[in-house]
């Protein structure tokens, strides 16, 4: 066989594709489920924490900063392993899926809080003062005046960060979550062929390239006014 035939046989083997493509597709469904769940809870929690932080209660803010710092500094895989292998020994057993969702949500919440808080800080004081002087309460000002302006500015950095964190769903393969990578690795070891790994990579490209493109578009659309 010449080189290209060997390559096609090992990486784009027709029989292997026919046999294992359904598994990869099943993995794609799981990856999408995790990604959507993580984005929903992570961003909601991040926004809630950033809003809470603007009340400027010292003890609460210290706790929020501690949470954010810890989850920004720790590698997600380390946290996943601690939760997955640690919780059962204190009597709590969570499925791999639940652990992955929980940990990635917390990581995303930490990064999102920091981004939202940057956005809130960037709103001028005059906006607060003007809104309060019209008779709005503190909470009304936050919800109707500050957050809408702050959130708009955070769209591009938040999108890019969210993509980077949801891609970590591949770490689920380490704790047996049947997402794309896990399916691809299993199929690779059953078939003794690298085709499933390539299919897995293609599956990620199909899912994430449109989102990366969206991030690029948002970046130009909501361009930060840096000189």
């Amino acid at each position: 066989m010449d080189a290209s035939a060997i390559f096609l046989d090992a990486f784009l083997n027709r029989a292997v594709i026919d046999r294992y493509l359904p598994d990869i597709l099943k993995g794609m469904v799981v990856t999408v489920e995790i990604a959507l769940a993580v984005v929903a809870t992570g961003i909601a929690l991040g926004l809630a924490l950033a809003a809470l932080r603007s009340f400027r209660v010292r003890a609460v803010n210290a706790a929020i900063v501690l949470f954010v710092d810890v989850f920004r500094a720790l590698p997600p895989l380390v946290v996943i392993l601690i939760v997955y292998f640690g919780l059962p020994s204190v009597g709590i057993t969570l499925s791999g899926f639940a652990v992955l969702w929980l940990v990635l949500s917390l990581v995303l919440a930490a990064f999102a809080e920091e981004i939202f808080w940057s956005g809130i800080l960037s709103i001028r004081k005059g906006q607060w003062e003007a809104a309060r002087s019209t008779g709005l309460t503190f909470v009304q000002t936050l919800v109707w005046v500050i957050l809408p302006q702050a959130v708009r500015m955070t769209v591009p950095p938040l999108t890019n960060r969210t993509i980077a964190i949801t891609k970590n769903s591949a770490l689920g393969a380490v704790i047996g979550v049947p997402e794309i990578l896990m399916q691809a690795q299993t199929a690779q070891s059953f078939s003794g062929n690298a085709t499933p790994l390539l299919l897995g990579a293609i599956a990620y490209i199909v899912l994430f390239v449109p989102v990366v493109g969206l991030g690029r578009w948002l970046e130009t659309r909501f361009a930060w006014g840096r000189s």
């Binding site: 920004r72 500094a73 590698p75 020994s89 920091e114 800080l121 691809a184 390239v209």
Partner: protein
């Protein structure tokens, strides 16, 4: 409480695992030293290619960058480590990790530099060129220094991400910090060594994260 301490903060087990963890930390440091400088330089090259005037040069670069931003680094790593041997290429775990991380972080660093260079007004180019500097000199002495200063927080942030990323090398049995900790965990049936590894990561990266959040909030204002 006792159960918690003996399961997560077991001093005896952590003491036993400590030499192993320190060796792992050495490997993590080696990975960082190999990947970060290459990523910083490679990313700059990527950014320059992406800013090329020629569409035929620029577009393939954008496609490659988006490709490597879309594929999770772990998938890339497994593909290189477990997939390439089928094509007769057998990288060692260390080489596989370096190549995978370089492709991934090169794309990210590239995007950051590109945003930085984009943020420099055209007038800077024109002014520098009109004083007689060549294009290369303008880039080196005028554009890049300003661009790097503008995106410094993002560069630091990505570097922190690279250090954290080294933990996935454990999946291909490269004995870095997390792998050593996980090995100690499976030998002792106790997750304390991983908690100790987490503490080491925290000790290394917390100062960087603090610095970052200062830098970021200053830029945001």
């Amino acid at each position: 409480m006792d159960v918690f301490v003996s399961q997560f903060l077991n001093v005896e087990i952590i003491t036993q695992a400590w030499p192993l963890l320190m060796r792992g930390l050495g490997m993590t440091a080696l990975l960082c030293v190999a990947v970060i400088p290459l990523g910083l330089v490679g990313g700059l090259l990527v950014a320059l290619v992406c800013l090329s005037r020629h569409r035929a040069v620029r577009w393939p670069a954008f496609v490659l960058v988006d490709f490597f931003r879309a594929v999770p680094p772990l998938v890339l790593l497994i593909f290189i480590y477990a997939g390439l041997p089928f094509a007769g290429i057998r990288p060692s775990p260390f080489v596989a990790v370096c190549v995978a991380f370089l492709l991934n972080t090169g794309a990210y660093y590239g995007e950051i530099y590109r945003a930085g260079i984009d943020s420099i007004g055209k007038g800077q180019w024109e002014a520098a060129r009109s004083t007689g500097l060549t294009a290369g000199q303008t880039l080196t002495w005028v554009i890049i220094p300003q661009a790097v200063r503008n995106v410094l927080p993002d560069l630091v942030s990505n570097t922190v991400e690279v250090v954290k990323l080294t933990s996935i090398a454990s999946v291909v049995a490269l004995p870095e910090l997390l792998y050593s900790a996980d090995m100690a965990r499976s030998l002792t049936y106790n997750p304390s060594p991983i908690v100790a590894a987490a503490a080491i990561y925290l000790a290394l990266l917390w100062p960087c994260v603090r610095l970052l959040s200062r830098l970021e909030h200053r830029v945001g204002r």
